[in-house]
């Protein structure tokens, strides 16, 4: 048991050190490091405070201290992973909206450029096509 706690202490210190180093090198933004630092500190506390582990084991009615520790660690990291999954999903949604908006703006900008310079050769063969044929398409399909 003491060996497990020792490994946990080293692992949590390594985690905290790694996160702090990554923040310093700006590989992780401060706001995203907090979850990991809290998880690392919680691990450190659990590994150093044996009586707390015993109390948790008693509360959870798990007879084996090692299993209790692994359960607590698992729950802790699942929480962190879930929080990041939420954040990742939000970021993906934002990134898709942004990419679509950029593409639409680029399309409209190029169409305007072609419309405002009718005598020059169009950069894209049918760049103003959507605007030009919209009325016709509207008539034919309404």
């Amino acid at each position: 048991m003491d060996r497990l706690l020792g490994v946990m202490t080293v692992a949590s210190l390594l985690l905290i050190g790694l996160v702090l180093a990554s923040v310093r090198r700006e590989h992780i933004r401060v706001e995203y490091s907090i979850s990991w630092l809290v998880a690392g500190l919680a691990l450190l506390v659990l590994s150093l405070w044996k009586s707390l582990d015993q109390r948790i084991a008693l509360a959870l009615k798990i007879p084996d201290l090692a299993v209790t520790l692994l359960t607590v660690c698992g729950v802790l990291f699942l929480g962190v992973l879930f929080a990041f999954s939420l954040r990742l999903s939000q970021l993906k949604d934002s990134s898709i909206k942004l990419a679509q908006r950029v593409a639409i703006l680029e399309y409209r900008l190029e169409s305007l450029a072609v419309e405002s310079a009718p005598n020059t050769a169009p950069m894209r063969a049918d760049a103003a096509g959507a605007y030009g044929t919209r009325a016709k398409m509207g008539q034919s399909v309404r």
């Binding site: 898709i96 990419a99 679509q100 399309y107 096509g129 959507a130 919209r134 398409m137 509207g138």
Partner: protein, 242 residues
């Protein structure tokens, strides 16, 4: 507008655009390029298509939704989606358009199985994996939609402005065809299937790889059930909101 989502379709996109133009010469043909790594954009430009170039790869749903958004913003009333690989026959576009205009429905699906001489053989022609998937989705969608749907994975679809409004705001991002049906049904929109021809893909390769073939049903089923259980207005949604 005829919307052609394309990703690495340099071998087929030009002929698809030309065929579409021959059938509906007045329509705007928009190729939405999902950040292809080949010369898809150049080929589409060469034959005079409008290009909506996405700055990075979004996948089929994000790509189609970008086209729907643009069409909605440009006040188009009808959009027909045709795949860029040449599998859909543009000769069927007027059939879809006519159904959209006359049948009082929000979405029309081109089905390869309706009016097929032998529907069962047509189903198995695409391979056992695809046939099993389509059969599974048919049986799951039937009670949800309250009616049978013969070709739930068809990408040959037409939508009117009401559906465009919905899809430009909310559209499934991966494997969107099946989930889109549920999204429409939840809003009490109607869809119709019309028979269409499906040809062999002219170039490129399918995005459904062996691994994705197993991931695809799981992803779609999850999306369908989430849409069914948690659409705004459902009992579970109201409970969660409280």
């Amino acid at each position: 507008m005829v919307l052609i989502p394309a990703y690495n379709e340099e071998g087929a996109v030009a002929s698809v655009v030309e065929e579409v133009r021959a059938v509906v010469p007045d329509a705007t043909i928009l190729v939405v390029d999902d950040c292809s790594e080949d010369h898809t954009v150049r080929e589409a430009q060469r034959v005079g298509a409008s290009i909506l170039p996405l700055p990075h790869h979004l996948g089929l749903g994000g790509c189609v939704q970008a086209g729907y958004r643009l069409a909605f913003e440009l006040d188009f009333n009808y959009v027909i989606r045709v795949d860029g690989d040449g599998q859909h026959d543009p000769q069927d576009i007027p059939v879809l358009l006519r159904a959209l205009q006359q049948e009082n429905c929000e979405m029309v699906i081109g089905s390869r199985f309706l009016n097929a001489d032998n529907p069962r053989r047509a189903l198995w022609r695409g391979g056992w994996c695809r046939a099993l998937g389509i059969s599974l989705f048919r049986s799951i969608l039937r009670p949800i939609l309250g009616r049978p749907v013969s070709d739930p994975t068809s990408g040959f679809v037409g939508v009117n402005r009401k559906a465009l409004d919905v899809f430009s705001r909310a559209f499934p991002l991966e494997y969107p065809e099946i989930e889109a049906l549920v999204v429409l049904q939840r809003r009490r929109f109607r869809f119709l299937e019309v028979p269409c021809r499906i040809r062999e893909r002219r170039a490129g390769k399918s995005s459904i790889t062996a691994i994705k073939a197993f991931y695809f049903p799981v992803h779609v089923l999850l999306g369908v059930f989430v849409n069914v259980l948690l659409f705004p207005g459902s009992r579970i949604w109201r409970i969660l909101r409280k």
